[in-house]
Amino acid sequence: MLNQYLVLSGILFTIGVTGVLLRRNVIVIFMCVELMLNAVNLSILAFSRYHAGLGNLDAAMNGHALVIMVMAVAAAEAAVGLAIVISIYRRRETVDVEEINLLKW
């Protein structure tokens, strides 16, 4: 079963990466970043079950702890990200990354 989960997680991660690179709406980009992190969570949990199946319960618990940490970090990142988006939207009335381009060479 491990392989199927890893493939699914790889596909989800790739969708996230593609979304960050191609989409122009900042909110959608944030959703794609969350997708990346949750794809990783899926593969960590799959590995965790795999190590549990091998009888290595310590390793399995490590994975669970890591996933919980990642969820907390993702929440903090989303909070800060949305705050920054709001402060930009108040000034410029746009969330399109193509139009947020004061800084360039």
Binding site: F47, N62, L66, L103, W105
Partner: protein, 495 residues
Amino acid sequence: MEGFLLKPIAPHLIVIAAGCLVLLMRAYGKKTSAGASGAVTLASLVLALAASVFLHGDAAKSAFSGMVVDDNFSLLVTVLVLFSGILCVMLSFDYLKRIGIAQAEFYSLVLFAVSGMMFLGSASDLVTVFLGVEIMSISIYVLVGFNRGRMESTEAALKYLILGAFASGFLLYGIAMIYGATGTTNIAQVAEFFKTHGPSQISPLFMVGLALLVIGFGFKIGAAPFHMWVPDVYQGAPTSITAFMATGVKAAGVAVVVRVLMFAFPESMDRWVPLIQLLAMVTMTVGNIAALTQKNLKRMLAYSSIAHAGYILVGLAAVYSQGFAEKAVSAVFFYLLAYTVMNIGAFAIMILLGRDSDEYENIDDYKGLAQRRPWAAFFLALFLLSLAGIPPTAGFAGKFYVFTAAMRAGFVALVIIGVLNSALSAYYYLRPLIIMYMSDPDADIVENTERRPALIVAIGVTAVLTLELGMGLLAYLAGGGSYYEMISGYLARVM
């Protein structure tokens, strides 16, 4: 053992407690001035510095089931990031007032960012590495966008946040794969796994994980080709935060790269050293070439910081030399220290010269500075010469140690590219110098003549250290004790 549980993270706890205290002082005492918050911040950073030095024992002590460790390596990182944090706060005092963002939250975020960096230094588990990176990064995202009235600032914050979170995704995926391949996230146990199972166990899963880790860290330290955020973010951020990012964040990032690669994967060195070598070459060249055409001093220093990340990576690749790994890592640490003092010095002069509405960023603004402000021009010249790597400054000594280490590892091509790059960089570092000394000032300039003691002290300290670290090279060549020898003496006991 249990009784000493908190001792390895006592300095971290001091910094975190001070961060909370600064926030509470603001919440409960509405009249608390930003200056008072700054003073508390400065005091707590100095206290943490003292605590980290005096509580440090010679033997490595780990705590929280091997999540953090207090060894000589972590001591060096802690001292470096606290030093950078102290200088950043000294730069911020008057600058924040001048641009109208003097708020207590700024200082508490600086403290939280510093605590994240300290955890990166003492991380002995990949989970701690991830948490340290995130504590540091999330605080810095907010600090970059702190000047909400200025559109560049919020834009920089958004760009940094998107790319930072993107990079964290890669970093985390790498950690997940290494966890999958070895069944542990503890750095010492990962190393143990490969020692017992031998090179045959280096599976594709592990190699992909390693590559993803390098990509994630590459983003964080601003190495090419993962550097596109650096110029925009450094230019848009408040100047004291730019100085902090270029030095503290970079030092912590490099430290964690060394910790993970050297302590967890020493067995697979022949796999990741070529990768680091390639990154070093590309990073140096891209940074220097892009810096040549810049007209904005802040943006030029941003590109130059990419180039300096490249020189640091040269030192990191040099760990390949058998038996001299700790010499190479000491060269990296020395370079980070030298870069911290000279770079913060240059940004401090920029802040010193800035006026109310004018950030004083364009290189043309420095016309005839030598006639108007001879001392400021002199110190800026010193820092720029040091960044260019001209003896007898810290920058030259740093490059000398790094390139010597790379020679010892037999990377002649890498050293040649590095030296050519240094020669190239002299062009853009010397251009502001010529403008300062050779052209006449515009007549209508109103000088900013406020008294700013904290800033002056910061400039003095960095200038003295720039010369002092540079002079240490003479002592080293004469066979006497130098800072470099001191650092490698510390590292020899953990590597």
